[in-house]
Symmetry: C2
């Protein structure tokens, strides 16, 4: 089915200009986020940094939260579930990858400001919840596949398993600030998966 | 050994007035922290809320961080290590107690703002590190006692054990925002301690 367009067709070069302007705004938002956390991001600041007018910004994003959500969309949403054929294989890929990203990705320095805001602001709590769902998407898929293969007992609460896998990494990154090295990652996987065996 | 006092002895009623004024300032600081996170706390705001002059506040605390640290001192620092005679018994007491506090204590809503600030501000990173040490003090003691009783293999990295015990709780409180119920707490303890058995 063809989409209907209201009014005249938009010329190609306008499309391209809009796309570039949106990209500039998102890049500026992300920059501000990583420099100063959520507290440093206002539509004013984004407009000043990007050189794009506030009215244009509001045309594409109805609120600061919508803009922040879009700018953060790279946070975990593009991970695909691995397919090693075993739960332990899959979570080893995923936890290792998460540890690497927690060590290096700039969003790791941004997330606490979003979690802080989520404590008091329902709109940002919703944003955080979406970011979190994106981050955990591949983990959930891997667990679902393991369930289908009969690798997980029916009584297993998979949310406990995910907390046991991911929680210790988050703990080291943001709370104890200890190293997220390979030995730690292996030990956490062993400990979380050990309980599953009969 | 008696402490030396410089100059004249301070009259009792002055001592009492100073004590009350300090208490008022700490209470106002804690109130502001729980209402708006660290971002809501400045010496100006504390002075306005408490009615205590800024000069008086600076006489007792050299910086905002010192004030925040003092106001947060109830965060975990007063827990004593339990003494049930076994590692599993001790950590059950400690993890259950932590889960209860994460569910109810007002500092649980404040900590993310301190962690966020710690990402960019070395003085607040130092503050967070002290708060974290206070929170984990009793856990470290329990693990040390278990080591002395021969309950922990010499090769056991106890920091892995602590991350496996505490990380999943932090994960549920601040990241996935799921329930910290008794079933979860039990499951996490089983999973973290299971690996230790030969």
């Amino acid at each position: 089915m063809k989409k209907k367009r209201a009014g005249k067709p938009v010329p190609k070069e306008t499309d391209e200009r809009v796309r570039r302007s949106k990209e500039t705004v998102l890049a500026a938002t992300y920059e501000l986020l990583t420099e100063a956390g959520l507290g440093g991001v206002s539509v004013d600041a984004v407009s000043a940094r990007s050189g794009v007018a506030k009215t244009t910004i509001y045309r594409h994003w109805p609120s600061r939260s919508a803009l922040v959500l879009d700018a953060c969309s790279q946070l975990g949403s593009k991970r695909e579930a691995p397919n090693t054929g075993s739960l332990k294989g899959d979570v080893t890929v995923l936890v290792t990858d998460l540890a690497r990203r927690l060590r290096t990705a700039r969003w790791a320095g941004v997330l606490p400001s979003i979690i802080d805001a989520a404590e008091r602001d329902p709109e940002l709590a919703e944003l955080h919840s979406r970011l979190h769902a994106g981050l955990m998407g591949a983990f959930n898929l891997a667990v679902e596949q393991a369930r289908k293969r009969g690798e997980l007992p029916r009584t297993q609460d998979t949310s406990h398993l995910l907390a046991a896998l991911v929680g210790p990494l988050f703990y080291r990154r943001w709370f104890s600030r200890e190293a997220l090295d390979e030995r730690f990652v292996q030990s956490i996987i062993e400990s979380a998966v050990a309980k599953l065996k009969p």
